[in-house]
């Protein structure tokens, strides 16, 4: 029994863990993704400084996962009453675990899709370096990846939205 007490956290803890993981994983993914794209962008700008604006647009694309993660984290905090005036509501362990599970899609899909999107954006930046008129196509390649982050965001949102205390 002694070892089980290690996991004997309150429901509130699990809910906050969910909020933390949503912001944390998706944020890490976006940071890495933007970093990958930024390296490529600096390379292209070193050849032609006039392309700064174009490549910056592409570099920003993997940033959305971090925002989606923040969004879900924020909604969880609202839900558990941490941002309101009345303080945190009581949450059972199973409710807390439910919130943790709801945060999983955007956290996990966020981190991997942002990294993948960063690579696609970097490739798009290379494309713009060679053919500046093809910016739109580079953007679409990166946006294809983002679809799955959008879907994960949607599922996370719908799951959290449906819970009541």
């Amino acid at each position: 029994m002694e070892s089980l007490t290690l996991f004997n956290f309150s429901g509130q803890f699990y809910a906050l863990l969910g909020a933390a993981l949503a912001a944390l994983l998706a944020g890490i993914g976006s940071a890495i993704g933007i970093g990958i794209a930024g390296e490529a962008a600096a390379g292209v700008v070193s050849e032609d400084p006039n392309k700064f604006g174009q490549v910056l647009v592409l570099q920003a694309l993997p940033g959305t996962q971090g925002i989606y993660g923040l969004l879900i984290a924020f909604i969880i905090l609202l839900k558990v009453g941490l941002l309101g005036g009345d303080g945190m509501v009581d949450i059972t362990v199973s409710q807390g675990a439910y919130i943790l599970a709801s945060a999983a899609p955007i956290g996990l899909v966020g981190i991997f899709s942002a990294i993948a999107q960063g690579k696609a954006a970097a490739a798009g930046i290379m494309l713009v370096g060679k053919k500046p008129s093809e910016l739109a196509k580079g953007m679409i390649f990166a946006a294809m990846v983002e679809t799955y982050a959008v879907l994960a965001l949607l599922i996370s949102f719908l799951m959290i939205n449906s819970i009541t205390f």
Binding site: G63, T64, L71, F74, L153, L158
Partner: protein
């Protein structure tokens, strides 16, 4: 509203009139003169004609242009007046352009002067760098009071050099004396890695001492062409540096003054470009002893104008209509409402001859989707007003103008959806929605988004059916589009049927079955043998792609939520600080920074995702692209726009 109709033009004229004809055609700017490589490689043609191109003339024009453009770059860099935020072409009348570009001597003189001055600037900058290097090199030796060029005295040698800080000077000295040599090492200065030192020893021991020093990683320093102490030399360098800097700022100020005349060079540059293009087009013109020949494309509505020019110069010409499906350059024409949305088509691809122009069809959907994804009334107002101001203040052209105008339109849509969903900087003012709040009722908006998506996809399929019917492929239209309509509508209504009426369920069950069976039977019609069966099943499996296409429109909801909730985050953060003067100030700062960030990132996201829905889900159904854009023989000026006179 569509792809502009073109006519084919072939012209034969006399060489004496050639330059006048070309000049007038260029002013009209409605013809594209085609490459004649094919005819030149045909032996029958090649026997009669040759390419009309004087390479040296084109080359000298190119050289002049590159000189002028480097002078323009210099002037732009040192331009002292107010620079516009966006550089736009200046409108001038035909007469003004003629007048201002009629004096090339002045412009040529200015070009030469500017380039010469800039060369001087570069050489002065190089001098400055070398002086700074010298000063930096002398700096560690400033405390050494003897002349640097003094390498020996009557009996002793003096060696200047550096040692790593890790080496102890006293140890080195004792090593020298152990070897039986006489010598001392004086430390001049130290920085964080290196000790600058002078070793003095007897002349006959010099080689030995140097050997010992080298073992301790000693690097001799030689002062070439320097007389006197480090201090004296530094003073001289500083003096020269001041002179160089003064010269530099004088010349730069002079260039700054010259930059007031930048307009002269801009006119000259554009005049040269026009002249160069007139030489270059000769590559596409064929000639015999007395005559010239070219062919190409003319905008159909402008054929009469071209004819009158050709008649004036007694050219023999022929205007024919293109055959069906013949490759020709593509020009799109829109009405004023759909015109800005051509930016989206242009960013993707020029339609091919067999396509239809997708712009009028994508425009309403783009308008709706953009607003739905951004969905904040205040953001919409900012976007529209901002774009409007840009359009009023700057003479934007081409893609830039279209995009800005498109954002102005989409801002209106954003405002509209913002009012419906109650977004005014998110929940800042607590204005209640005219329809419903998507954060509270996400399922309603999700269903609405998917329905919008379904309509979008159906319109795309309808356009494909239209193209197929136009090309006389009625069977393909029925099998690939109408059966799918039957199946998809059937499935959707069947699923919802029980809510509408039981009889609908029955009808739609049979609609789906007919559709599905039809697709299985006809899907493999172009294949042979077993392929007919597997092909049919394979094409029914395509239903999964329709499912994923429709689900893709859930991003309409997700991005709308992203804008709304991030606004809410910003507002909550801003209000957290609490009351008091400081609280209000912090709140305002957080609001401004936060909402500017949110507007920027979400406008970008919205732009990308509305485009994606057009490119992937919509264009995928009917649009191929890959056409060649119409590239008329016209005056492609960079700095001025020569206004056509109304006749």
């Amino acid at each position: 509203m569509a792809i502009v109709e073109m006519s084919k033009l072939s012209v034969i004229g006399l060489n004496d009139n050639k330059s006048d004809v070309l000049k007038e055609l260029m002013t009209l700017g409605v013809c594209e003169i085609s490459s004649q490589d094919e005819k030149l490689s045909d032996s029958e043609w090649a026997a009669l004609i040759k390419r009309d191109f004087d390479q040296s003339a084109g080359l000298s024009a190119d050289m002049k242009i590159s000189e002028v453009s480097s002078a323009l770059e210099v002037l732009d860099k040192y331009f002292t007046g107010k620079k516009p935020f966006i550089k736009c072409r200046k409108p001038v009348s035909e007469a003004e352009f003629e007048a201002k570009s009629s004096k090339p001597e002045e412009a040529e003189k200015l070009t030469a002067l500017v380039n010469e001055k800039y060369k001087k600037v570069l050489s002065l900058k190089a001098q400055k760098t070398s002086l700074l290097t010298e000063i930096a090199e002398l700096k560690p030796w400033l405390d050494y009071e003897f002349d640097l060029d003094m390498k020996e005295t009557k009996y002793s040698s003096i060696i200047h050099g550096t040692l790593p800080n890790s080496v102890s000077v006293t140890e080195v000295e004792s090593k020298i004396s152990q070897e039986g040599c006489g010598g001392v090492i004086n430390i001049v200065s130290k920085d964080d890695k290196i000790t600058y030192a002078v070793a003095v020893c007897l002349k006959q021991d010099k080689e030995n001492v140097l050997g010992i020093l080298r073992q301790e990683n000693f690097n001799p320093v030689y002062f070439a062409d320097i007389a006197g102490t480090a201090k004296e030399n530094t003073d001289i360098c500083n003096g020269r540096l001041q002179e160089v800097e003064k010269d530099l700022s004088d010349i730069e100020a002079e260039i700054g003054r010259l930059s007031q005349n930048i307009e002269v060079l801009e006119f000259y540059y554009d005049d040269l470009i026009i002249e160069r293009d007139r030489y270059k087009i000769l590559t596409n013109i064929l000639r015999t002893e007395k005559t010239f020949y070219f062919d190409g494309w003319v905008i159909k509505s402008a054929v009469e104008n071209v004819k009158s020019v050709l008649d004036k110069y007694n050219c023999y010409y022929e205007v024919t209509e293109p055959e069906k499906g013949e490759e020709m350059p593509i020009l799109l024409k829109q009405n004023s409402l759909t015109e800005p949305f051509q930016a989206i088509t242009d960013l993707y691809s020029t339609p091919s001859v067999n396509d239809i122009d997708p712009t009028p069809f994508l425009a309403p959907f783009y308008f709706i989707f953009f607003g739905l994804m951004l969905s904040d009334a205040a953001y919409g107002l900012i976007l529209s007003v901002g774009s409007f101001i840009l359009l009023k203040h700057y003479r934007l052209e081409g893609m830039m103008k279209r995009l800005v105008k498109m954002f102005m339109f989409c801002g209106i849509s954003t405002f509209f959806w913002g009012v419906l969903f109650g977004g005014w900087f998110g929940d800042m003012f607590g204005i209640s929605p005219a329809w419903f709040n998507p954060v509270e009722e996400p399922m309603t908006l999700l269903v609405f988004s998917l329905i919008l998506g379904g309509i979008h996809i159906f319109v795309g399929m309808g356009l494909k059916a239209y193209i197929l019917l136009r090309n006389g492929q009625a069977i393909d239209a029925i099998c690939d589009i109408f059966l799918w309509y039957l199946l998809l509508i059937g499935i959707v209504v069947f699923a919802l049927g029980s809510r509408i009426a039981p009889i609908a369920t029955e009808i739609d069950k049979w609609m789906s079955i007919i559709g599905a069976v039809g697709i299985v039977l006809t899907g493999g019609r172009s294949k042979k043998g077993v392929g007919k069966i597997t092909g049919g099943l394979g094409s029914l499996y395509g239903i999964t792609s329709y499912l994923s296409d429709v689900l893709s429109y859930s991003r309409l909801l997700a991005l709308g939520l992203a804008t709304g909730v991030v606004s809410q985050v910003i507002n909550t953060l801003g209000k957290m600080v609490g009351g008091g003067v400081i609280g209000v100030i912090v709140m305002i700062v957080v609001f401004i920074i936060g909402h500017v960030f949110n507007l920027a990132i979400n406008t970008l996201g919205t732009f990308v995702h509305s485009s994606r829905l057009q490119y992937v889900e919509f264009f995928g159904k009917f649009f191929d692209g890959g056409g060649t854009p119409f590239n008329p023989f016209s005056r492609k000026t960079k700095y001025v726009e020569i206004l056509k006179e109304e006749k």
